[in-house]
Structure formats: structure tokens, C-alpha cells
């Protein structure tokens, strides 16, 4: 029989190795799934993971990689702080939507004025919007001890309805012929979040994502708040005796992740998406949860995980158009990745020993 022995400290080697192993196992299991769907598994895996970066049209897809990875990384860095401290914000999708609405609303309010200060104001509005939306579960948690998991998630559905109301109502393009959806912000120079270096996909949101990674790293490794977050996650009792205020951590972690998700939404609506529309949100807030775990809740890991997950998005779209692979297959594929990751985590927390059967006395 196999026996599990708890490690005093999680194994470093396994912590790094498990995401790689999980990706490989997901490729195998995904290959089986693609086979069952009647597609050649090797061609499908190559289309998803290889062709976007090294294939014929890689010059185009490499740029797309940053466009997709930007919001994922930005949201995941924020989420990882809370997840470390045992504070579960799973409503990033809602905060992302509200950030986009607030950012776009500020931009549209100035239309058609051209001025340098419009875009910075939109950035502030987007961040504040996401922050405020995340403050709802934070305050309910600290004030009434309401479960933040359920509240933050339920607020996603509220935000989606609000998005529809805005796209059909207040923010609708008055010159749009009655169609739902706002004016296109990417055609409004003062509010547009355009590519900074043509062809790279690098826009201000991607820059913000890189900055978030750096600040996240410094916060966790060098700042007392980062220390408190890690302590609260690993030893909640010790943290309380050590004078860590749990309410302050809740407000900080939820606020930070909300603000970053709001920023991601704002950069998306002003750039790649261009407008507020009913189906503006595309699930980045949920995928970012997988990214955070795949990156081991570590900012640098999240950077790599975000790029990998962006790859599955782009590769998935290619597989959809070239091989007829349904888009849902990619969603299932991403879910599977998280399953394997969680299962393999056993190896970093426990030692697997072969138990020799002892003679009963």
C-alpha cells in the first residue's frame, strides 16, 4: 500500500514541477478528448500549442498572445494575493465588467472633446469601479461576516445584467441606428487604448500587467503586508496572535483584486473590444482563477501561466476554424488543467511512501 506522509514544508522542486507535469497530463487527456470528438489528437495539440508561436502565421498570433495574456495576468495577480490569505474573490468577472462600464462611461462623457487627460481619467474610473464592486463583498464580510465567495460570485450575474442595461440604455451609441452597444472607443483618439508598438499587441493594459507582476513580487517578498498575507494563509492563528488584522487583509485583498480586474476591463473596452456591448465579457475573470493557480499564486509564475493560457485561447480559436473543434472543448480543456494541477499538488505537500506491511502483534 501507498502511504502519505505530510511534508513539514512544501517541496520546492515539486512546486515548480507540478504545473509542467499538469500541462503535459492535460495534453494527454485532452488528446483523448479530441480523439473522441473525431479529430487527430496530434494535429489538434500542435494547432493549439505550437502553430500560434512557431507556425506559418506566427507573426500575427504572437501579437495576439499579449492581447489575451494582458488581462489574464492583471486579474490573476490580484486574485493570487487573496487566495494566498484564504480570501476567495471569485467574482473578478463582475469587477472586470464594472471597470469597463465606468471607464467607458467617463470616456464617452467627454466625447467628442480631444484632450490628453481623458485616457488617464478613464484608467482611474475603471480601477475605482472594479474596486468599488469588490468592496461590496469586502464590507459585507468584515461587517456581517457574510461569505465573500457567494457574494462576489452572485454579483457577477448582477454585473452582467447591468452591462446589458448599459449597452441597451444609457451608454448606447446615439448614432448607432438603435443597435445595442456604445460608440466605438478605439475610433475616439483621446480614449483609445491602441497598440504602442505596431504588431506586438502591446497596449497599456499589457504594460499595466507587467507593472502589476513587478509590484506583486515586491509586495509579497519585501513588504510587511505581503508577509502578513502569506502568514494569514499558512497559519491563521499565528497571524492573529502576531497582530495581523484579518478585516484589514480582507479589505486590502478584495480591493486590490477588484481594482486590477476593473483596470483589465477598462483597458479591454478601450482597446481590443472597442465598445460596451451585451456580450463584452468573455470569461477572463474566471480563466484568471486557473491562471492564478497554475502560476502557483506567485507573480512570476502567473506571468508564464497567463501566456500559456492565452496560447490555449488563440490555439483554440485556430483549432475551431481549421479543424472544426468546438470552442467548448477548450473550456473543458482549461478546466481539466486545473483538475490535474490540484491533484498533483499532493506531491508538493506530501511524501508518498511505500508502506511495508508490518506483522500484527
Amino acid at each position: 500500500m501507498l502511504r502519505l506522509e505530510k511534508r513539514p514544508v512544501p517541496s520546492r522542486a515539486w512546486t515548480v514541477a507540478t504545473p509542467v507535469l499538469a500541462v503535459l497530463l492535460t495534453m494527454v487527456a485532452g488528446g483523448v478528448m479530441f480523439q473522441l470528438l473525431g479529430k487527430d489528437p496530434f494535429v489538434a495539440i500542435r494547432t493549439i500549442f505550437w502553430d500560434p508561436v512557431f507556425g506559418e502565421f506566427a507573426w500575427y498570433f504572437r501579437g495576439q498572445l499579449l492581447v489575451k495574456a494582458g488581462p489574464l495576468i492583471l486579474i490573476a495577480v490580484g486574485l493570487s494575493m487573496g487566495f494566498r490569505a484564504g480570501i476567495w474573490n471569485i467574482g473578478a468577472e463582475g469587477q472586470y465588467i464594472i471597470g469597463a462600464i465606468c471607464g467607458a462611461a467617463v470616456g464617452l462623457a467627454f466625447y467628442p472633446l480631444e484632450a490628453w487627460f481623458i485616457f488617464p481619467l478613464m484608467v482611474i474610473a475603471g480601477g475605482l469601479g472594479g474596486w468599488a464592486w469588490a468592496m461590496i463583498p469586502a464590507l459585507l464580510k468584515t461587517r456581517f461576516r457574510t461569505n465573500e465567495i457567494l457574494v462576489s460570485l452572485l454579483l457577477v450575474y448582477v454585473a452582467e445584467q447591468l452591462l446589458a442595461a448599459m449597452a441597451l440604455g444609457r451608454l448606447r451609441n446615439p448614432e448607432g441606428g438603435g443597435f445595442p452597444g456604445s460608440r466605438n472607443l478605439s475610433q475616439y483618439p483621446s480614449a483609445a487604448n491602441l497598440e504602442l508598438i505596431p504588431g506586438t499587441g502591446m497596449h497599456w493594459g499589457v504594460v499595466a500587467a507587467f507593472v502589476a507582476v513587478i509590484f506583486g513580487y515586491i509586495l509579497l517578498q519585501r513588504h510587511v503586508l505581503g508577509y502578513q498575507i502569506r502568514l494569514a494563509g499558512q497559519a491563521p492563528r499565528a497571524a492573529r496572535f502576531g497582530g495581523v488584522n484579518p478585516n484589514r487583509l480582507v479589505v486590502f485583498c478584495l480591493g486590490l483584486s477588484g481594482a486590477l480586474a476593473g483596470l483589465a476591463g477598462m483597458f479591454e473596452v478601450a482597446g481590443p473590444a472597442g465598445q460596451i456591448s451585451i456580450d463584452f465579457n468573455s470569461g477572463y475573470g474566471f480563466t484568471a482563477i486557473i491562471v492564478a493557480f497554475l502560476g502557483r499564486l506567485d507573480p512570476l509564475g502567473i506571468l508564464l501561466a497567463g501566456l500559456l493560457m492565452a496560447l490555449t485561447y488563440i490555439g483554440g480559436e485556430n483549432a475551431q476554424s481549421n479543424l472544426g473543434l468546438p470552442s467548448a472543448a477548450i473550456q473543458a480543456f482549461q478546466g481539466m488543467l486545473l483538475f490535474f494541477l490540484l491533484a498533483l499538488d499532493l506531491l508538493s505537500n506530501f511524501r508518498v511512501r511505500l508502506a511495508t506491511r508490518k506483522v500484527k502483534t
Partner: protein, 310 residues
């Protein structure tokens, strides 16, 4: 706006229909949480049940087999959660989320060929005698079998938890897994069974959406019903009878806002559609702010990983 178009009797009758999916899922989750496991994957299991039920019902032409298939589908997918949390000792919150994300993708994959397909109708079975009672008969006793089954299941769960040895053991495992283990109870096995029961009921609830309530398949059709079921377990402070109250309260709000939409109230549709979620949050806040009772009744080992270090 014409509020007189809303017939209160029809409203009450459709309330029961609207509440049934959540009632089923919440009853299952209550048993899971009573065994000390927090499964946040209710949404994923419900949507898997929805497509499994619809697919089986369409292929066989029998809604009864469809519901059976949905329960089976929900139980099988919950097994992933059971293995990860009970054998691989993974974090329950993260695994539950993964189950929801996976379930949403997986169900969309299964449902490709079934978009827009109408399932065979599930017949209403008025209870002889009782359904002829003037008002009550039409409201309460003229539904399909699943509505009755959901109420019977609540009663059964209540009776088993309160009066039987099996129920006592389940609660013991949920309150203190270490002590239960020391007494020789198989903590992991009991929890796996509880998780599968929860999965089966969530699957049934999902199938009720796709076979009766809507009735057809659309991607993501559960629209947060699984999360509301989780909230209702908290609202019920882990007491079976209160689940009915919570589910019917929620069903009432859903039906009322749909009727208000149809009656053409001057509030935009989107704001009315928000109301069930907002009210669920409000109810959660009220329950948790009276912090003593709701918090005290939560199973003590809820969400904790069990590892027998012998």
C-alpha cells in the same frame, strides 16, 4: 402596465416549478455539507445534469430515463471532486471552482447537437382526490412527479439525519472527522458517498431546468442556480425544512419578476432580472449578521481536509 393580468394562483403554482431545481440541488448540498465537505461545484454538476438529462430523454423518448441519466451524470462528475478532495487531499474551494468551470465547458461540448431540440414532455400527475380541493389542489397537487419527489426527498433527508444511525454517523463525520475516524468510521468512504448523493440531486435539479422549466438546452442555462442553492443552504442554517422555505422564497421572487416583466412594468427588464441575485445576497447578509445561530449550526469540520496520519 397591467398588474391585474397576474393571476396569483398561477403565480403560486409556477413558484413551485421555479423553485424545484434549486430545492433539489440545495438538499443534495446540505447532505454534502453535513458530512463536512464544501462542494462549490454545484453549478457545474447541475449543468452537467441538465445536458445529460436532455440528451437521454431525447434519445430514448422517456423523460423518466432522462432524469435517471441526469442523476447518474451528476453523480459521476461529482466523483471527480470526491477523488480530488478525499484521495488527493486537494483544497475544497479550489476543486469546487474547477468542477464548475469544467462542468460548464464539458456540458457545452456534450450539448452541441442538442441546441434547440425539444425534449419529450414530462406529464403532470395531479394527485387523485387532493387535486380537486378548490384552490390548494391547483396550486400544490397538480404538478409533475419531480416536484413531489423533491419535497419527499427533503422529508427523507430530514428523517434520516435526525432519526437514523446512518444520519448520526454522517453528522459525526461532519462535526469532528478525527473523532469519527478514531471510532472506526470510514470518514473518506462516507464523504465520497455524500458527495455523490449531492451530485445526483444537483443533476436532477439541472435536468428539471432542461426538461420541464425551459424546456430545451442552451449553454450556461443554469445561470447561477447552483450558487443560489449554495446560498440557500447557508440561509437554511443547515436545516432541511428551511431549505424548502429558502427555495420557495427564491422561486417566488423569480416568478414574480418574470410576471412583472410580462406585465410591462416601467423598470427595465435587466434590473428586474437582477433582483433574484440581489435578494439572495440580502438574505445571506441577514442570516450571517445574526451571527450566533447561523454560524453555530455550521458543521464544525466544514471545508477541512481529512488526513489520517496513522
Amino acid at each position: 402596465m397591467d398588474l391585474s393580468a397576474i393571476d396569483p394562483l398561477v403565480l403560486l403554482a409556477s413558484l413551485m416549478v421555479a423553485a424545484t431545481p434549486i430545492l433539489l440541488a440545495a438538499t443534495g448540498e446540505l447532505v454534502v455539507e453535513k458530512s463536512g465537505v464544501l462542494n462549490l461545484g454545484v453549478e457545474g454538476m447541475m449543468i452537467t445534469g441538465a445536458i445529460c438529462g436532455l440528451a437521454v430523454a431525447v434519445e430514448t423518448g422517456s423523460p423518466a430515463l432522462g432524469f435517471l441519466g441526469a442523476a447518474l451524470g451528476g453523480a459521476v462528475i461529482s466523483l471527480i471532486f470526491a477523488v480530488l478532495t478525499q484521495v488527493f487531499l486537494a483544497n475544497q474551494v479550489a476543486t469546487g471552482l474547477a468542477l464548475t468551470l469544467f462542468g460548464l465547458g464539458f456540458s457545452a461540448l456534450l450539448g452541441q447537437g442538442y441546441i434547440g431540440v425539444k425534449p419529450p414532455p414530462t406529464g403532470q400527475v395531479p394527485i387523485p382526490g387532493l387535486s380537486e380541493i378548490p384552490v390548494l389542489g391547483r396550486v400544490v397537487f397538480s404538478h409533475d412527479l419531480i416536484v413531489y419527489l423533491s419535497l419527499i426527498l427533503v422529508a427523507l433527508v430530514w428523517a434520516v439525519l435526525k432519526y437514523t444511525r446512518a444520519g448520526l454517523i454522517l453528522r459525526a463525520v461532519g462535526e469532528n472527522h478525527g473523532a469519527a475516524h478514531a471510532l472506526g468510521y470510514k470518514v473518506v468512504r462516507i464523504r465520497v458517498l455524500a458527495i455523490m448523493f449531492g451530485g445526483a440531486l444537483a443533476g436532477l435539479g439541472g435536468a428539471y431546468l432542461s426538461l420541464v422549466r425551459v424546456p430545451q438546452w442552451t449553454e450556461g442555462m443554469t445561470a447561477g442556480a447552483g450558487w443560489i442553492a449554495l446560498a440557500i443552504v447557508v440561509f437554511a442554517s443547515w436545516k432541511p425544512w428551511r431549505i424548502i422555505l429558502g427555495a420557495y422564497l427564491f422561486g417566488g421572487i423569480t416568478v414574480l419578476q418574470l410576471n412583472l416583466q410580462a406585465a410591462g412594468v416601467k423598470v427595465p427588464v435587466e434590473y428586474l432580472s437582477m433582483s433574484p441575485y440581489l435578494i439572495t445576497i440580502l438574505v445571506l447578509v441577514i442570516m450571517s449578521s445574526g451571527r450566533s445561530r447561523a454560524a453555530l449550526n455550521a458543521p464544525a469540520a466544514l471545508g477541512q481536509t481529512f488526513h489520517a496520519s496513522s
